[in-house]
């Protein structure tokens, strides 16, 4: 077997909804290939669906950032070589391994169950209705991202956490800095410090004055330290709004560009559950990644991955793998069985907020197209600014119009 080696990760998307063509070519040559990291390390690029699941599901891989080789000098060029500078903060369980990960995630799991999230449907419906009323007041034209796609999940996660939505200016810009691929290490550190300051204030306030929210409930358990609690709250706040917002924005753009598919959604409202899964599969908004590092030698699909090797799991490529998705996986097909996609990841770090995100998307897309059946793009599709520069892909803005 000749090995496929990439000296650099292709990140330029030729088409707005597809992974880079070079990544697709690599997948068709080798579901597991080699990828050069910034320090010269020859790691791995995994693009096959089955193989991505196998790595993410294996306890032989770590997500501790100190263990990872740095991916790419185009956007991590100034991150210090000293791994200790990348030590995960206590409570940021996405970047931790068991047993810390297990202990911290367990404190929150009960708050994100399918049943709990289903109980929020009606309330989320009201938030969406109110936001659509606001859009309606804008006289036939709007940027759907600022007026709908970003506010809905932000309002939801703020209310769930007990964060005052009016204080969103204190974290929205800093969140963008964290997600921007070109941000310097210093900028990221400063942004993190500001958000952490905001979260520490929140914890102090909730301790003095508990409310009916997830953070107060978390504190009431007495389990996390204050520092853990504030970082857990930060993780939920960050992961909870930008992701769903970009699925709503990019998903709407996608549906407007696939009128035959949008028609299915309009004619058969009950198709929404599968439509959301298919949009997640088709778009997998995690731009590229995540990464993991092997902690012992492990064989995956006939390749020996050595302890210390860093592996990039390319979710967008895996979600288009013809070995998993029958027919033409590069076509959006709202009737296709899309379950089993890896847009929420796989393994112990699989998205904690996935059931919330699903409900926000189901209600968000359904009500948007019920309320605005003639919604259309208000610019040429090539003019929609894509988030090619962000770790979470999507659209920066989506100018739309309707008959007022």
């Amino acid at each position: 077997m000749t090995e496929v080696i990439s000296e650099e990760l292709p990140i330029t998307r030729q088409k707005p909804f597809d992974p880079p063509a070079e990544v697709t070519e690599i997948r068709e040559k080798a579901r597991i290939s080699r990828l050069r990291f910034t320090d010269g390390h020859l790691g791995w690029l995994v693009t096959g669906h089955h193989q991505v699941r196998e790595v993410l599901g294996s306890p032989k891989f770590s997500n501790d950032p100190r263990k990872h080789h740095l991916l790419d000098k185009r956007f991590q060029g100034d991150v210090p070589d000293d791994p200790e500078a990348r030590k995960p903060q206590p409570g940021l369980f996405l970047s931790q391994d068991p047993p810390d990960h297990t202990r911290l995630r367990k404190m929150l799991q009960g708050q994100f169950t399918v049943r709990r999230m289903n109980q929020l449907s009606e309330w989320i419906g009201t938030i969406v209705d109110d936001q659509l009323k606001h859009v309606r007041s804008l006289n036939g034209k709007a940027d759907l991202v600022t007026e709908f796609a970003l506010p809905v999940p932000s309002l939801v996660i703020c209310a769930l956490l007990g964060v005052d939505y009016d204080e969103r200016h204190r974290f929205q810009e800093d969140t963008a800095t964290l997600l921007r691929l070109g941000s310097s290490f210093e900028e990221v550190r400063a942004a993190l410090e500001r958000i952490q300051g905001f979260m520490r204030e929140l914890i102090t306030r909730k301790k003095a004055n508990p409310g009916d929210d997830m953070i107060s409930d978390l504190l009431a358990t007495g389990e996390p330290t204050d520092e853990e609690a504030s970082n857990m709250a930060m993780l939920l706040l960050l992961a909870g709004h930008e992701t769903t917002a970009n699925m709503l924005g990019l998903g709407t753009f996608t549906l407007l560009r696939h009128p035959d598919q949008l028609k299915i959604l309009k004619d058969e409202p009950e198709s929404i559950d599968n439509a959301v899964e298919e949009l997640m599969r088709y778009l997998s908004i995690v731009h590229f990644g995540p990464v993991r590092t092997a902690v012992e030698d492990v064989e995956i699909d006939g390749h020996l991955i050595k302890a210390g090797d860093t592996v990039l799991l390319h979710l967008p490529a895996a979600n288009r793998d013809p070995d998993k998705f029958a027919g033409d996986p590069d076509e959006l097909d709202l009737r296709r069985p899309a379950s089993g996609h890896v847009a929420f990841g796989h393994g112990i770090h699989q998205c904690l907020g996935q059931q919330l995100a699903r409900i926000e998307m189901r209600i968000g897309f359904s009500k948007l197209f019920q309320e605005f059946p003639d919604l259309r793009l208000d610019v040429a599709p090539e003019e929609v600014p894509l988030r090619a520069d962000m770790g979470i892909y999507g659209v920066h803005s989506l100018p739309v119009a309707w008959s007022a």
């Binding site: 993410l56 599901g57 297990t102 995630r105 367990k106 404190m107 929150l108 799991q109 009960g110 708050q111 994100f112 169950t113 399918v114 049943r115 999230m117 379950s339 089993g340 990841g345 796989h346 393994g347 112990i348 770090h349 699989q350 998205c351 904690l352 996935q354 059931q355 699903r358």
Partner: protein
């Protein structure tokens, strides 16, 4: 067919409940899986298998 679940592996993703709420539930306290039917009837065999294959933590086994 027999379903078994391993709570110590479960990460509370809810995928099983989403796949078949007749077979699986999640604990209110820490979101881990609660098995509702150990021996699913014929009508639930396919979803039982699907839940086992979707589970991100390999916490569901079918025998």
């Amino acid at each position: 067919m027999r379903i078994s679940v391993d709570q110590s592996k479960c990460c509370g993703s809810g995928m099983c409940v989403l796949t078949d709420p007749d077979l699986f539930d999640q604990s209110e306290e820490d979101g881990t899986v609660v098995l509702l039917q150990e021996h699913p009837d014929a009508a639930h065999e396919a979803t039982a298998k699907e839940a086992a294959s979707l589970c991100p933590a390999s916490a569901i086994t079918i025998s």
